[in-house]
């Protein structure tokens, strides 16, 4: 192979943004590289400058605070599993991490890399969106915050400008009586999701659903929230959630999807599957809330 690229290694996040600003569209941030290496070898991305983020230790941390947990963009998937309190505060993230690719990939792949790759099947996206996660974005001039839901713009497209970097993902502590679940279907352990679904339900003191989030992966150009399906659940007492209502919620969510056919499966199957996974995710959340 004769192609290669220039290598840059910033010591600080701001320096990384400045390098990106200087070199433009053919410079990439390289985190774990588990997606990027394959894309580059296939010729799917042009890279003149590789900005290796390995030196930015501060973005590798996971900090649990009183009100929120902040996950550095460079935290590996394995570090989610290893963290002392993340799994008890947000069990769904542990659940997701355990089903993310392989142990070797989880040791290297980062949460930020999974999100910035911008693919609709990214496993980190549905659970984090259902938790109302926000992202902190740095640029040479400053920073901004936006919801993770609005971070995704199209297939492999995010809200990041050329000189911007995803620094952190923050998740507020959930209200009491909340449960979040994640369902994922793939051909094998290693394969990316054919479809996935996350559900977060919060109930009030009378055990009525006060908040619902339903987010699907791999069934639209971006990870997709179904507010229509959420509305079917809000205000309903837990005891009144019937098999019929679950089916209706699944069908409503599936009707919002705009899947594609590709090498892995057909659009029709993805649409069907999204309904099944949403139904399962909601049923599991209801079951746990009832415990």
């Amino acid at each position: 192979m004769t192609r290669s690229f220039q290598y840059l290694r910033p010591d600080f996040p701001r320096e990384a943004c400045e390098m990106k600003a200087k070199h433009g569209g053919k410079a990439v941030f390289w985190a774990g590289g588990t997606d990027l290496m394959l894309q580059w070898r296939r010729g799917a991305v042009d890279i003149d400058y590789c900005i290796d983020l390995s030196g930015l230790d501060e973005l590798r941390q996971i900090r649990s605070g009183e009100d929120a947990t902040v996950i550095g963009a460079l935290a590996t998937i394995a570090s989610l599993q290893a963290h002392e309190s993340l799994g008890s505060d947000f069990p769904v993230l542990l659940d997701m991490a355990e089903r993310f690719a392989t142990p070797q990939i989880r040791n290297v792949a980062t949460v930020g890399g999974n999100l910035c790759h911008g693919v609709p099947s990214a496993d980190c996206a549905p659970p984090l969106i259902s938790l109302d996660a926000e992202v902190r974005i740095l640029s040479p001039e400053g920073e901004r915050t936006l919801s993770l839901e609005s971070f995704f713009v199209g297939p492999k497209q995010t809200a990041l400008a050329d000189d911007e970097m995803l620094a952190e993902i923050s998740v507020r502590r959930l209200p009491p009586r909340s449960v979040c679940t994640f369902e994922r279907m793939a051909r094998s352990y290693v394969d990316i999701a054919l479809a996935s679904a996350a559900c977060r339900l919060t109930i009030d003191e009378e055990s009525r659903i006060s908040e619902a989030r339903i987010v699907m992966g791999a069934v639209a150009p971006v990870p997709l929230r179904s507010t229509g399906a959420e509305e079917l659940l809000v205000g309903i007492p837990l005891v009144d959630i019937t098999e019929g209502l679950l089916a209706e919620v699944g069908a409503r969510a599936a009707s919002d999807t705009r899947p594609i056919s590709d090498v892995r499966t057909t659009a029709a199957y993805r649409k069907h599957l999204s309904g099944v996974l949403v139904k399962r995710a909601v049923a599991e959340a209801v079951r746990r809330l009832g415990e």
Binding site: Q6, W30, T102, Q104, I105, V190
Partner: protein, 161 residues
């Protein structure tokens, strides 16, 4: 552009000039002659190239070599010798945890990481821990028995120490 990195492999430092895009697996195998690092799928799917970096299993075929600079890299070559196999290697032999042997170094390295984190795994924990490996000869049941046997051996060693 070439860059110089220090690769500390099995306790020995190697100063190597590499190109930025080169994978760790390619440098270990091609440059340092460690042919126990089996480059196969080149996509991080099959696990044959698995080595340990700071004790964690990684697929070296898709990791930039430069990112492993100044870190502790362990390959199968650093584990045992033909006359003095590591207990995990011996257990793979005793349980016939391979047929052609191509995938074996990767399985052994992941088994090492697994047993360090979980000294007494049950069969499903072993299957999960080795889920990033493919054995095309299909010796999975033997591999699981080999890891269980290695766990017993290593537990025994630890007790005797």
């Amino acid at each position: 552009m070439t860059i110089e990195v220090n690769l500390r492999v099995n306790g020995v430092d190697h100063a190597v000039e590499i190109q930025p895009h080169e994978s760790l697996g390619r440098v270990l195998n091609g440059r340092l002659g460690l042919n126990g690092v089996r480059i196969s799928c080149k996509e991080g799917e099959c696990g044959a190239c698995t080595v340990l970096v700071d004790g964690e299993a990684v697929t070296s075929c898709i990791m930039l070599a430069v990112q492993a600079g100044d870190r502790d890299i362990q390959t199968i070559e650093g584990l045992g010798t033909p006359d003095d196999l590591h207990p995990i290697q011996q257990a793979f032999v005793d349980e016939h945890g391979f047929q052609c042997g191509f995938c074996t170094p990767g399985f052994v390295m992941s088994s090492k990481a697994l047993l360090e984190a979980t000294p007494h795994p049950d069969a499903s924990e072993i299957a999960e821990g080795l889920s990033g490996h493919i054995c095309r000869c299909g010796t999975y049941p033997n591999i699981i028995r080999a890891v269980q046997r290695a766990a017993e051996e290593l537990g025994q060693e630890a007790t005797n120490e």
